[in-house]
Every structure is written in C-alpha cells, then in structure tokens.
Symmetry: C2
Subunit: 204 residues, 2 copies
DNA sequence: ATCTTTGTTAACTAAATGGTTAAACTACAT
DNA sequence: ATGTAGTTTAACCATTTAGTTAACAAAGAT
C-alpha cells in the first residue's frame, strides 16, 4: 500500500527529522529513529536526502530561516529603539514558547561546527547590526538614550531574551520551579525584560 | 616502557576526556580519541572508569564543581546587591575566558539529560536563590533598589554574563568580529554589564 | 496491455564503536 | 630470584549505524 496520504513523504521526513535532530542534536540523532518517527522505511531518508549530513542541513536551514525574521525586526525596521526592545521582547518570547527547542538547537550546532554560519550568511543578507548601531548612536546624540554602545546593547537584548530558554534546566533547578512555574516566569519576562532594558538605557 | 611520568594515568585520562567531551559533547566524543589524546591504550579508560558514561560523569561533575563556587558568590556572600553584581560580573567573565568551553558544555548536556541536575543537587546544598531573593526584597524596601523581582533579576544576571560565551559563534557573525574582537567585547563587558544592571535597578 | 518512471521495502554491507580478554610488563615486598 | 598485585597493551568481540541494493509496487504515458 503506497502512502498516498495528504502530506507527501518528503515533508513527513523533514518533520520527523526536525523533531529528532532538534532534541538529540546531529551526533545523538539516529537515522532509524527518524524513519520510525516518520513511519517509513529508512531507505527513503537516503532516497530523498542522500545522507544524514544533507538531511541535517535541510533541518538546520529550515530552523534558521524561521528565526531570522524575528531577529530582523530588531535590526532593520523603522521604529525607535525603545519600541524595538518592547516589540522584540514580547514577540520573541511568544515565538520561542511555540518553538522551544529552536534556540538551543541552533546554538549547540553552531558551536559544534561554526562553519555553518558561513553557509547561512551567503543565503541571507541580514545578520548585520550596522543599522542598529547607527540608530543607537543617533538616539544617544539626540539625548533619548544614555551613552550606550550599540553592539553591547544588542548582545544584552539577545542574552536577556534567549538565554532563559537555552539554560532552562539550570533555571528550573535554581528557582525550584516546575514546568508550569517556568512558563509563568517566561510570560512575566515578556514585559519584565523590556522594562529592565529601557530602565537601564533611557535618558530620564 | 611504563609511563612513570609525574602525572598519574588516571589524571591524564580525566584531562584528555575533559577536552574531548567539552568540545564534542557526550554523543560526539569517541573513546578512541580520548585515549589517543591521553597518549594511552583505550583499554585503560575502562580500567580506570569502567564505561564511557562513568567517565563522562566524572568530567561533568568536575566541570560543575568548578563553576559552582562562582555562582555561590552571588547567592551566599554578605555584600550588597550592587557589590555582588559588580564582583560577580568581573570575576565570572575572567573565569570563563580561562574555561571557554565550560558553560556551553554544561548547558548542552543538561538539556540532553535534565536528570543530571538531580545528581548535582544531592552533592551540593547550593543552587538555592532564596537568600538572594530575600536580600533583593530587603533592599527594595530600604529604597536602595527600585521594585525588582529577585528571581527575574537573578535570571538577568546569569543571562547577561553567560549567554555571550554560549552563543559565541552567533555573536561573532552578527558583530562581524574575529576572535580578537570578540575577546575585546568580552573584556569590555566586565564593567559594561554591571553598569547596565545597576543602572536598571538602582533607585536614583 | 505494457512500458517507464517514480516511490517503497526488506535484506544486506562495511565501517565504526564501546567494551572485553588474556597475556605481558613493572615495581616492590619477601 | 621469585611471587604478587597493580598496570598496560594488542587483539578481539558484539552491536550499532549510515548507507546500498535489488526486487517490487503504483501510476501514468503510449
């Protein structure tokens, strides 16, 4: 019985591969587990994607292209720094609660193989903080912000938004919160984090 | 020729295992590579540590026991929140520059197997932020700090200090800095981060 | 109807990998 | 010098794993 289901096999594989790679990583993932999870024969993985490496790259690019527009908002839209911080923080945390394994997956795999970032930089022109830095300098000169280094501010925004999800097990251990308590903390952060940042950089 | 060198074999293995596990992770590490790196026969790994799992756990506990005193400073010493933030930030960044793979290793492996944290919680009484939270509440009531949630402040301090090292490849890509430029950014952060935090929470 | 292309499977292969074993070597106590 | 306990090695083993193959099924195209 040929699987003439609504979804085509190639997409089923990608979906299954996403789940396995994002939870186990490249080294921990097994082709057999991906096949089982997709409900198909292992040979199909190679039929559609040739090798584990290529299947992994398909998953990775997919993940990154999901994340990129989120980051783009803070780098390249027209609003003020304060608005950007507020919007980004709220949107990003909402986004990650929907895709909990994403940031950890990307960071882990980039550390394993930093060359991956080169492949990504070819495909997307973003990943450039120059515009953001210029805007920070401008708002500092206009007296809107206290003296602030654009690159450090960018790092701080990323850190405050992304880190809690990456270090989730650590944070749960320290705060003694369960899954529900952790989620509450993260919901709080949608506004807490932007207040924290704005408080620090806004000229009063 | 028996290796009657100054360092005993067991320590040589642990040192080699540390290097391999911390860069490749549990799944990516190979026992043969650890043996080669230690300059000894693979059977010795099992002679001294029985299994890959146990060798890994020895490395992990070692890594964590190196990190714990750092975190302890901010949780359990007697200074004010402002002093704690300043000292911790400067000390922690210095510490991590010396042990660059450590935070990523711990975070990656805790995500792979969150139960590890249980084993650690048995051995060390630390990992408790209650004292820190009480102190924050106290300083808020004394009018030293603006209204601030202790647990969120703790997360923010961790995030700002640890994240840049965990996400190093991403940050290098965004800021277009090379290794040297990255290190300069991190050196700046020894004071930048504490200013950023103090600015945000201190009552003026 | 049958030929061809595409999709799918079970069985197989070669290499890698964690772990074992039996023999050999070292140092030291007697 | 010899026995003994601890240490080290080369060779081996069983299993896992990514990848291949050859045969088979489905569905259009002619």
């Amino acid at each position: 019985m040929a699987r003439t289901k609504d979804k085509n096999t190639e997409e089923q594989i990608l979906e299954a591969a996403k789940n396995v790679f994002q939870t186990k990583g490249m080294d921990g993932a097994r082709m057999q587990e991906i096949a089982d999870s997709a409900g198909i024969n292992k040979a199909m993985l190679h039929y559609y994607y040739r090798s584990k490496q290529l299947l992994f790259e398909a998953v990775f690019k997919n993940a990154f292209s999901l994340l990129a527009p989120q980051l783009n908002k803070i780098l390249n839209d027209a609003s003020s720094i304060e608005e950007k911080v507020r919007n980004f923080t709220s949107n990003y945390i909402t986004f990650i609660i929907k895709h909990p394994y994403l940031p950890n997956f990307i960071i882990q795999e980039l550390n394993r193989n930093p060359d991956f970032i080169l492949k990504i930089q070819e495909n997307s022109t973003l990943l450039n903080i120059e515009k953001f830095k210029t805007q920070v300098t401008l708002e500092v000169n206009q007296g809107i912000l206290k003296p602030t280094k654009g690159d450090q501010l960018f790092i701080n925004i990323m850190a405050l938004n992304i880190f809690p999800f990456v270090a989730k097990p650590l944070i749960k251990a320290f705060t003694k919160e369960d899954e529900k308590g952790f989620k509450t903390l993260m919901e709080q952060r949608k506004t807490e984090v932007s207040e924290f940042i704005i408080n620090s950089i806004k000229q009063h």
